[in-house]
């Protein structure tokens, strides 16, 4: 028997094991760089993606402009500049070309006062068009964001329940999903929006929601009713594969409740897929809103949205084509950048989904 084995078998402690580490040994333990997390790694990949970053900055700039410009702008989206109390309507304010002024404003300029320019002119009712475009952008962005949030919450809840409990619950939910999925969504959206705004109008009177307008609320209801299905399918699929994992079994064996397993194990593990598909939902919601506004089923007047501005512009299209082109460019820019940024997110955070 050699000497090492003897040492191991003896009850005596090997003193050599307790010597302070040499510098050479310490070097192994030095962190060369901070360890990266999944999130940091994804952000690093995202920042390398030039297209996604440019889209991201465009979104940020448009969003900030939509939030802050109405606060400092001297004009308001609903004020008809030609109308002042006690005087006849001053039609010189209607349909102003960009950087031109109404009659009273010209008088003020002649008197040496400075008048804030109408950058995009005014519309047929004498409202400053620039602030209407900015305000419309704000509405469109808000509708897209909140609609996606609604879809996320409902889809996540239903999908998680369906995937986790399985059995009869899953079968029932998935049959409902199948039917809603095969409904032609746009037609149903038009149908619901047509009727809901008439039902909701009187019901909302006097509540906080009245300010938002029955049309936008009915739009949200439509999204809540129809668009959660693909999200819930996605979540269910993720959960079905995740729940077979060993750590879920381990948690269940140590007595974890269903809620605990869903919130602590399953959702964090499919979060990236969910975030990405929510991000891609926003442009599609903006798309839907502008489509409905164009059909006259969007926001309540005088509130503008990009779709309703484009729709209104159709009336004077031969002489005021820029009134259509401006909201058109902004919608396309928003939808394009959101789509490209969503694709970038997918590439960065979910290499599995990459096609």
């Amino acid at each position: 028997m050699d000497i090492n084995n003897l040492k191991r078998l003896s009850a005596q402690v090997n003193v050599d094991d307790f010597l302070p580490a040499s510098d050479e040994e310490k070097e192994y333990m030095v962190k060369m760089r901070p360890s990266t997390t999944f999130f940091k790694d994804g952000v690093r990949r995202l920042r390398k993606n030039k297209v996604a970053m440019v889209s991201f900055f465009i979104i940020i700039i448009i969003t900030l402009a939509a939030i802050f410009i109405p606060m400092i702008w001297p004009y308001d989206y609903s004020t008809m500049l030609g109308i002042s109390p006690g005087k006849p309507v001053d039609a010189s304010f209607n349909n102003l070309r960009p950087f031109t002024y109404g009659a009273t404003e010209q008088a003020r300029i002649a008197a040496g006062e400075s008048v804030f320019p109408h950058i995009f002119g005014t519309d047929a009712n004498g409202r400053d068009y620039f602030i209407r475009v900015i305000y419309g952008t704000r509405i469109s962005l808000a509708v897209g964001f909140f609609a996606s949030l609604i879809v996320l919450v409902i889809g996540l809840t239903v999908g998680a329940i369906s995937g986790y409990f399985g059995g009869i619950v899953d079968i029932i939910i998935m049959r409902i999903v199948d039917v809603i999925y095969s409904l032609p969504d746009m037609l149903m959206v038009i149908l619901l929006a047509t009727v809901l705004r008439q039902i909701l109008g009187p019901a909302l009177e006097g509540t906080v929601l009245e300010k938002i307008g029955s049309n936008i609320i009915s739009l949200f209801v439509v999204f809540a009713l129809l668009y959660w299905v693909s999200m819930s399918r996605l979540v269910r699929g993720q959960i079905l594969s995740l729940r077979e994992q060993e750590y879920v079994l381990a948690a269940q064996a140590s007595g974890a409740s269903g809620r605990w397993v869903i919130t602590k194990h399953l959702i964090p593990n499919c979060i990236s897929v969910i975030v990405i598909s929510t991000a891609l939902q926003i442009p599609s919601a903006i798309f839907t809103e502008s489509y409905l506004s164009f059909l006259g089923l969007g926001v309540n007047a005088p509130m503008p949205s990009l779709g309703s501005l484009a729709s209104d512009a159709l009336n004077g299209i031969s002489s005021y084509a820029y009134r259509l082109v401006i909201p058109a460019i902004i919608i396309s820019l928003i939808v394009l950048s959101l789509n490209l940024f969503g694709d970038g997110l997918r590439d960065a955070f979910d290499p599995k989904l990459n096609d």
Partner: protein, 309 residues
């Protein structure tokens, strides 16, 4: 055909029939949920006249009786009742009138989107990473982000109002050119991207390499091996494409004043012509459901490798 495929087809058929039933039911009850019913808001109608009208359209019967009558009329006779706003005309007549124009518009757009999309996609895949490929990808990305109503109005401004090259009114044959282009661009872009990516996938397959090694001519590889297989995913897009064209034609017909079913539908929304809204929704929805069914079944039948659920 193996029994598994048959089972899948039967399952899908049942789902489709059920979906159409849901559409009819939802449409009916939603329309009857409108406060006051369809005649509210019309001026100068005395109470007696309103009662008479309700009796004429069967609106005085209990809701469920109305529903069963409606369901029976719709399914058995395609009878959606008279239009509430266009006196003396039946909904089904208005729909069949518009359908002729709309079908022409939609089918030309679908056909062109398919042909041009496949050709562009295949060329882009074969000339991968060249200037042509890049231009195609950038263009299609931009086109996919543009709503159809924006595209339509921009084309209207550019070609009809500024340049006077094409008529703005879509009621003539030449007037259909701009609506067709508007409807075609989005599905064309989508098909281009779909064909390109599936073509790239197929070109990397072993059987293409084997064909090359055997000395098969380039044209034969492209048409006989690659394109044939690359087109299978395009079949799945067939249903969604027709759905897009149907909903797109609603606004496009409105913009270009095409006298089709879409324009009738949009007008019926503004006029609150409820029976017309119901009829059009049901007809268009059934069409979309059938098209989705056909494209899904075709997809599974064409490619035996695809596993069935």
């Amino acid at each position: 055909m193996n029994p598994k495929t048959l089972k899948y087809i039967v399952k899908r058929l049942i789902l489709a029939v059920f979906t159409v039933w849901v559409v009819i039911t939802v449409t009916f009850f939603i329309m009857h949920a409108v406060p006051g019913g369809p005649f509210v808001g019309e001026k100068a109608v005395s109470e007696a006249a309103q009662k008479a009208m309700e009796a004429k359209y069967g609106l005085d019967k209990p809701l469920f009786a109305q529903y069963t009558t409606y369901l029976k009329d719709v399914v058995l006779h395609l009878d959606f009742g008279p239009s509430l706003k266009q006196r003396g005309r039946d909904v089904i007549d208005i729909i069949t009138d518009g359908l002729k124009t709309s079908a022409k518009l939609g089918l030309i757009a679908a056909f062109l989107a398919l042909i041009i999309g496949v050709v562009l996609g295949a060329i882009a895949a074969l000339r991968r990473n060249t200037f042509f490929d890049r231009v195609i990808m950038v263009l299609t990305t931009a086109l996919i982000s543009m709503p159809s109503f924006i595209m339509g109005t921009l084309l209207l401004v550019a070609f009809a109002i500024k340049m006077h090259m094409l008529p703005a009114n879509g009621s003539t044959a030449a007037g259909l050119i701009l609506p067709v282009i508007t409807l075609m661009l989005y599905p064309m872009s989508y098909i281009t991207r779909l064909t390109r990516s599936s073509m790239l996938d197929v070109l990397g397959q072993d059987y293409v390499r084997t064909a090359k090694a055997k000395g098969v001519s380039r044209l034969r590889i492209i048409f006989g091996h690659a394109l044939k297989n690359a087109l299978i995913p395009v079949i799945t897009y067939f249903g969604p494409m027709l759905a897009y064209i149907v909903t797109g034609s609603l606004v496009v017909e409105q913009i270009f004043a095409v006298p089709g079913i879409g324009r009738a539908f949009v007008n019926s929304i503004t006029n609150r012509d409820y029976t017309l809204i119901m009829g059009t929704t049901i007809i268009l929805a059934t069409f979309i459901v059938i098209m989705n069914l056909v494209s899904d079944i075709l997809y599974k039948v064409v490619d035996p490798r695809i596993t069935l659920e």
